[in-house]
């Protein structure tokens, strides 16, 4: 603390009362990242539930009887394609081409919708054959975990459409660039969670 006591005449300042220059949104990226980390905790809890309950079939169907790996592989491909097309949107943004950003965001949205469609088809099929969430603890935790991921993708698509409207109205202003980067983090983060889902739920489930 010797550095603060320069002279005896000046009062010692313990608080920094001067405002610093804070450019708008300078901490948005870090804040959004911390939000994603908290989201990560939600998924971790759901994974823990599935890990504990995933073997409790209540004399009902097991993963081996239910999961169609070809469908899951297709679903994984949809999400992976949507990840790289979002990457193309970010690259277009760096070159300042608003039309290109719109185009690739649209393609990303279509892949996201395809993913959701396949997932809803799977859920519908499971419920139809009597393997709904109320059948066993395994299926309850399965529907909660995979459904929460699907819900995130749904909100991601809503955000994506909103962003496309904002881009068409205001172009590539600083705020919109920030939004594109935040949704980029969100979208790639959902793909990371999906890696956990297809490995731990589907592939390990079939092995079990």
């Amino acid at each position: 603390m010797t550095a603060n006591a320069i002279t005896a005449d000046e009062p010692v300042a313990f608080y920094d009362l001067d405002e610093h220059a804070h450019p708008e949104g300078h901490s948005t990226m870090l804040g959004f990242w911390i939000y994603l980390m908290s989201d990560c905790l939600i998924f971790a809890i759901l994974f823990a539930c599935y890990a504990v309950l995933g073997g409790s079939y209540a004399a009902g169907p097991a993963p081996k009887d239910l999961f169609d790996l070809k469908l899951i592989a297709l679903n994984t491909a949809m999400l992976l394609f949507s990840s790289i097309t979002y990457g193309f949107a970010v690259l277009q943004m760096q070159q300042g081409r608003v039309k290109g950003v719109q185009l690739w965001l649209g393609v990303t949205g279509l892949f996201g919708l395809a993913f959701l469609g396949i997932e809803l088809y799977e859920f519908h099929h499971l419920i139809e054959i009597g393997a709904g969430p109320q059948r066993s603890a395994f299926l309850s935790s399965f529907f909660t975990l995979v459904g929460t991921h699907g819900l995130h993708v749904t909100f991601g698509i809503i955000w994506l459409v909103t962003l496309m409207v904002q881009l068409s109205k205001h172009g590539l202003i600083a705020a919109n660039k920030r939004r594109v980067m935040c949704l980029s983090m969100f979208w790639h983060f959902l793909d990371v969670v999906w890696i956990g889902v297809f490995t731990f739920v589907y592939l390990m489930g079939v092995l079990r």
């Binding site: 990226m29 823990a48 209540a58 009887d65 592989a73 790289i84 600083a174 092995l207």
Partner: protein, 134 residues
């Protein structure tokens, strides 16, 4: 704002065009990340669908592939570097991983002991009894 709080340096907030620091992405990063992801996804699916290895080995291998693929996504898609946001991104990530590992390992450990110490059930449900449901 008091006059002496202005930052000296090339960036002045007053000019109104202060660009927020964003990770710079390149086509090369995305293509490498995508190709690695395709390989790291295809191999686990192939291993489980054709089962050339024993179930235990396959399980360990696909978990390993998942961890590697998550790192690939973090580096090539999320542009995670130790320097991003002055190191705070990585700090919060490491903190989250620690919490997640404690929670997952702790839950499984506790629940495994709970299951082991339970009274034996009159009938043990197995996956063999399920075929009539479908």
């Amino acid at each position: 704002m008091s006059p002496n709080s202005g930052q000296t340096g090339p960036h002045h907030a007053a000019d109104g065009h202060h660009e927020i620091e964003m990770p710079h992405a390149s086509m090369r990063d995305y293509v490498i990340g995508f190709l690695l992801s395709v390989i790291l996804t295809a191999i686990p699916f192939w291993l489980v669908m054709t089962m050339p290895l024993s179930a235990g080995t396959t399980g360990a291998v696909i978990m390993g592939f998942a961890v590697v693929q998550i790192i690939v996504h973090m580096v090539f898609f999320l542009h995670m570097t130790p320097k991003a946001e002055g190191g705070w991104s990585l700090t919060s990530l490491v903190f989250t991983i620690i919490v997640v590992v404690i929670m997952l390992a702790g839950s499984l450990w506790v629940m495994h002991h709970l299951n082991t110490n339970m009274m034996p059930m009159p009938h043990e449900p197995t996956s063999q009894t399920t075929s009539q449901v479908l």
